[in-house]
Amino acid sequence: MTRRDTTPALGTHGEPGDWRRSAPGAHVALQRARWQDAAWSYLFKDDTRYAATAPADMDVVAQVNRRMRGGDLGPVHGPVLNAPVWTWQVPLYFWCGGVATGSWFVSAACDLAGDHRSAAIARKVALAAVAPSPALLIADLGRPARFLNMLRIFKPRSPMNLGTWSLVAFSGLATAAVGADVLGRSRAARAIGGANVVIGGYVGSYAGVLLAATAVPLWARSRLFLGPIFVCTAAATGAAATRLTLVAAGLPIGHPTRSALGGIEAGAMAGELLLSSINERRLGRAGLSLEHGAAGRIFRAATWGMRGGLVLHLMRGRLGPRAHHAASVCYLAAGLALRYAWVHAGRESARDDEAVARVARAAVTVDDRVSGGRRQQRLVASTRAPRAARRLRRGPAELVRRASLLAERALGQSHSVVGRSGTGGSGATPRASAGS
């Protein structure tokens, strides 16, 4: 399958079509004005009883539409969704971005507390973590050579686009700040570092938004929790990486930075465990993919990694600093495993046709009860309020869409596609255009 010849019948591979008409404005053979060639059908004529001749009562039609799409869920003939195609690079990239963000937060906090030496080291950790991110992001693309197409427009409504822009800005500013550190301009480095916290906040959290803004039931149902979960692990892994680096650089025991980092790690991971357990409880049928199979095993491993880290952290007084270092390693590993588990479970969830159908039905019938297993008693809360409330809620969504469109328009980018003939490429080759 992957060794297929994808050369198009006409034109150049991956390039827009470059055909020309025989004469300006020439018509194609058999073409009739206003798509009249589509109206050949005997069905439209009066001698069949294809359709009622009287105008239809649209209220009746709307009613039957509503009736057939409401009610109880019957058998599901999948597949309903296409599963995400992301490969192993994506969760690793999420992890790298998370470590970078966490370290950057830590560096800003160090600066605030007056420990500029630790802050400079934390910035270097963040830069080292963010450095492989572009490579991972590019390697995951189907057409890596076209990575820069991500930056041909600014499209705030697409988390992927906004995330790529924020990654570019973050790594640029991080490089500048580390450069300023190296050149001894520590005040400039601090200023840049403070500004970069604003962007870093998005770099570390948008992975959750990216996953939540899909039709995958598991991710979409976790939309309020995914971002905070990713932020918590980002803070914990970033603090852990910084702590280990600082200890290696000789940060003495008892230094406020050292104890603050320990507190951040443990607090963030405890927060993650809390958020995760709340989220699992409200997922219902959509959460099965996070419990079973390979994704479930990885997820449990991640949870136990966090718990183990917390236990080691609590026992650091008795076990000594090495136990604390082991806890930091636990957090780093658990953060990585958690990202793999979420991405992998989403793939399974998209293939779970029953869950997809149930989540979709929740919009029509609020009383969607989960059937089977130990989850039998749990009521799946509706993600969407019915009817009137839904319309109200569309307001802000429409606002963002319009704002995004305005931004795209103001920057003049949405016009850049105009003038391309057809859809170009091998997808749709205009074989019949230009009458011969």
Binding site: Q31, R34, W35, L141, A220, G227, P228, A360, R401, A428
Partner: protein, 342 residues
């Protein structure tokens, strides 16, 4: 009644009206001429010769990067696939001649009369007892609120002057975000090609005033193409006719809904169905996942990030306020701590 894409979203500014598909499953005969026509016109590869995908007599299985039209074969009663030679696990005593031909009436008669070998075969009753079989030619829905279009980070997916959603193959970099962003499982990434692909509603043909290839080839006019408003009007009258004939479950999927019930703001390619949508692998309710989730998700995520930053600052300020270690043995440690910042 009919809905429109936001005018600001339309990327190609030429005078045009909304065009769409109306797929009437009650007259579909499952011939798959639309699939073949689509593949021929759009230069798409075959799906392989494995028979029996999707639980029925189907080569294709599902919509995908190289299958932009897919005729779903839906077996109503769980799908009793008779063991026929064509499926490849054949029993030849069922009326099949062994060459792959199959006398479906004989199969049904045999199933109906199982047990009584001597009984006269009531063919009409046997045919009536056969399982119901639904056909539905599935396609990209060209949503008014298109999730793929909202998700696309490169701007490869655009809204055309016909208010259809088209993927520009020369812009797409294969990030794959449109794939999970489609609530109907339409867009997919081609593993050989690396880019995402989906139905263009034959944009190139439309520009030249021609009907899309699948609609052109449909022998029963199950796939109808035309001005969107006209199609909705015909479809509603068709529903009225079917209701008058006693098929009370005939309804439209994706058109003529009340505003609060609309599927993704109204589907540019809508369907006339007679069973609940899940039978055909369609969600009962759908919306652009981006428009639905981005705002609450971003608010929660970015809010949490700001909280985390504030928490980190608080942890440092709190730790800095704690006194340094005291006592005789701690003197060296105090010196080390003071020495770090210098």
């Amino acid at each position: 009644m009919t809905t429109r894409a936001a005018p600001t979203e339309i990327a190609i500014h030429k005078p045009a009206e909304r065009m769409g598909f109306f797929t009437d499953t009650t007259v579909c005969i499952g011939c798959k001429a639309c699939e073949v026509a689509c593949k021929q016109w759009n230069d798409l590869p075959a799906d392989g010769a494995r028979f029996g995908k999707g639980g029925s007599y189907d080569h294709t299985g599902a919509l995908g990067a190289s299958t932009w039209r897919h005729v779903r074969f839906v077996e109503i009663d769980g799908g009793h696939l008779p063991d026929i030679p064509a499926v490849g696990r054949g029993r030849t005593d069922l009326g099949g001649s062994g060459s792959g031909d199959l006398d479906l009436v004989a199969v049904a008669a045999q199933r109906a009369n199982r047990g009584g070998a001597d009984a006269a075969i009531d063919v009409a009753a046997a045919v009536a007892a056969m399982d119901d079989w639904l056909f539905m030619s599935d396609v990209c829905k060209h949503c008014t609120n298109a999730g793929c279009l909202d998700a696309c980070p490169t701007g490869a997916l655009i809204r055309t002057e016909f208010e259809t959603v088209v993927l520009q193959a020369d812009v797409c970099n294969g990030c794959g975000y449109c794939v999970p962003a489609c609530p109907f499982g339409v867009v997919a990434r081609d593993p050989a090609d690396g880019r995402a692909a989906k139905c263009t509603l034959c944009y190139d043909r439309l520009q030249d005033g021609l009907e899309p290839a699948c609609a052109k080839s449909c022998p029963t006019d199950s796939i109808q193409f035309g001005l969107y408003d006209e199609l909705v009007e015909i479809a509603a009258r068709r529903v009225g006719e079917l209701h008058a004939r006693g098929i009370a479950d005939a309804y439209l999927y994706g058109a003529a809904d009340e505003p609060a019930d609309e599927l993704a703001g109204g589907l540019g390619a809508f369907f006339l169905l007679t069973e609940p949508p899940e039978r055909y692998g369609l969600p009962a309710q759908a919306e652009s996942p981006i428009q639905e989730n981005v705002i609450p998700a971003t608010a929660a995520a970015y809010g949490a990030a700001l909280l985390a930053a504030a928490g980190a600052a608080a942890a440092f300020l709190g730790a800095g306020r704690r006194p340094l270690p005291r006592g005789r043995g701690a003197r060296a440690r105090r010196r080390a701590i003071r020495g770090w910042s210098r």
